[in-house]
């Protein structure tokens, strides 16, 4: 009787087993795989995005600083492509290739994060939707607490980013610090990216005033873009 009760309980409970925790059933080493192909490309500067950030005025970020920031982003695109090309060269020593690979994460993430950052800015953003406020409040307590949390994490010592990702295994929004561009990334689609490198604010603010930059930054986040990314990731 007890065993039957236990089995019934197990089958009705909402257990969140990892999908790969049990033995693979019906696995066949000869399982046919359809043919598929990738069309590899190089990184390229998103000129539409460049126009967006350089031809609009974003309160708290001077146009002069934004233009320089875009040039830095162009540098990341160029460096990432150079590394891709060099890593493919047979003439490069294997040890050097390993080190180029180490650097590649820095440059490639530099490209992606800057694009995510520029595209989640708006000169005068609309208020977040009720749905987004509700989802964010579920995780962070309230929308205002969430905005405070961005600023607190953004004050982390060092140079890097605040990113928010959707962790699908937990169904949770994860807000955390990323060192440089590549250390400490949480795994999941990036929903929000905030540049906290000194270059992002130091021409407009004192070096000790990252807090002031972030206080202004949270007012120019495009919540429609954030919500679109979240829905696409879900």
């Amino acid at each position: 009787m007890h065993i039957l009760v236990v089995l019934a309980l197990l089958s009705s409970s909402r257990c969140s087993f990892h999908p790969f925790s049990g033995p693979l059933k019906n696995a066949s080493p000869k399982r046919p795989v359809g043919t598929y192909k990738l069309s590899p490309q190089e990184y390229s500067v998103n000129e539409t995005l460049v126009d967006w950030v350089t031809k609009n005025n974003f309160p708290g970020i001077s146009n002069k600083m934004m233009v320089e920031h875009v040039d830095l982003y162009r540098g990341y695109v160029k460096n990432a492509n150079t590394l891709l090309a060099n890593m493919a060269k047979s003439s490069i020593d294997s040890v050097m290739k390993l080190e180029l690979g180490r650097r590649f994460g820095f440059e490639a993430n530099g490209v992606h994060l800057h694009e995510l950052f520029f595209s989640n800015l708006h000169p005068s953003p609309a208020s977040p939707s009720e749905n987004l406020v509700s989802v964010i409040s579920d995780e962070f307590g309230s929308f205002n607490k969430f905005l405070e949390r961005i600023q607190i994490i953004g004050g982390t010592r060092g140079t890097g980013w605040v990113t928010m990702t959707l962790d699908k295994s937990l169904n949770r929004l994860i807000l955390n610090w990323v060192d440089e561009h590549q250390d400490g990334q949480s795994i999941g689609d990036v929903i929000l990216a905030v540049d906290c490198w000194e270059h992002a604010y130091i021409k407009d603010y004192k070096s000790t005033a990252r807090g002031d930059y972030l206080q202004n930054l949270v007012k120019i986040i495009d919540w429609e873009v954030v919500e679109r990314r979240l829905k696409a990731a879900m």
């Binding site: 920031h69 820095f106 140079t159 440089e180 130091i202 021409k203 004192k206 070096s207």
Partner: protein, 177 residues
């Protein structure tokens, strides 16, 4: 370099000192849980490294070009060829990705030019190297005057203002220790 850039840099250094003191006070608080204390220690080490590296940096730059003695030039520069070679190597290592400190370091039997990532002073000191030259390559050190892509120009410029007298004294202190 402008006074605006330099004064802002001093304020940054002062903030690191204030941060260190605040963290020391926090660590003395018995009600802070042990696990949190470990994180605070980590952060305090970071601040301490920031303080020490900034002090070494400010000490070893001089608006007047101070050259070392011939004896020092023979000993150290001969390992690299000449002083210019050291200056060029400092510019070269500063091209490393991310932020950090370019420097000339000496152990008991060798001298190297290397780049400290972030504030990780331990990466050279744990290997037995002591600083002779330290150049701040964090963005706050140069972006106001040289722009976001001005690191190379900044470091090149700064190598002309190294106080080699201070460098030589550091080298002699290491040797006599």
């Amino acid at each position: 370099m402008t006074l605006n850039q330099i004064n802002d840099h001093f304020r940054y250094y002062e903030k690191a000192v204030a941060n260190y003191n605040a963290l020391t006070t926090l660590l003395a608080n018995d009600s802070v849980p042990e696990q949190e204390k470990k994180q605070i220690e980590f952060r305090r080490t970071y601040e301490n490294n920031t303080i020490r590296l900034h002090e070494l940096f400010f000490e070893n730059i001089n608006p007047k070009r101070i050259l070392p003695s011939l004896e020092f030039t023979d000993k150290i520069a001969s390992a690299f060829g000449n002083l210019s070679a050291i200056e060029q190597d400092l510019v070269a290592v500063s091209e490393a990705e991310g932020v950090g400190w370019a420097g000339l370091f000496a152990s008991n039997d060798s001298v190297v030019v290397a780049f400290i990532r972030g504030s990780d002073f331990g990466s050279v000191s744990d290997a037995g190297y002591k600083p002779l030259i330290i150049i701040d390559c964090w963005e706050h050190a140069y972006v106001k005057d040289f722009g976001m892509q001005g690191k190379k120009e900044y470091v090149s410029t700064l190598t002309k203002y190294i106080d080699w007298g201070v460098v030589e004294k550091r080298f002699n202190d290491i040797r006599s220790a």
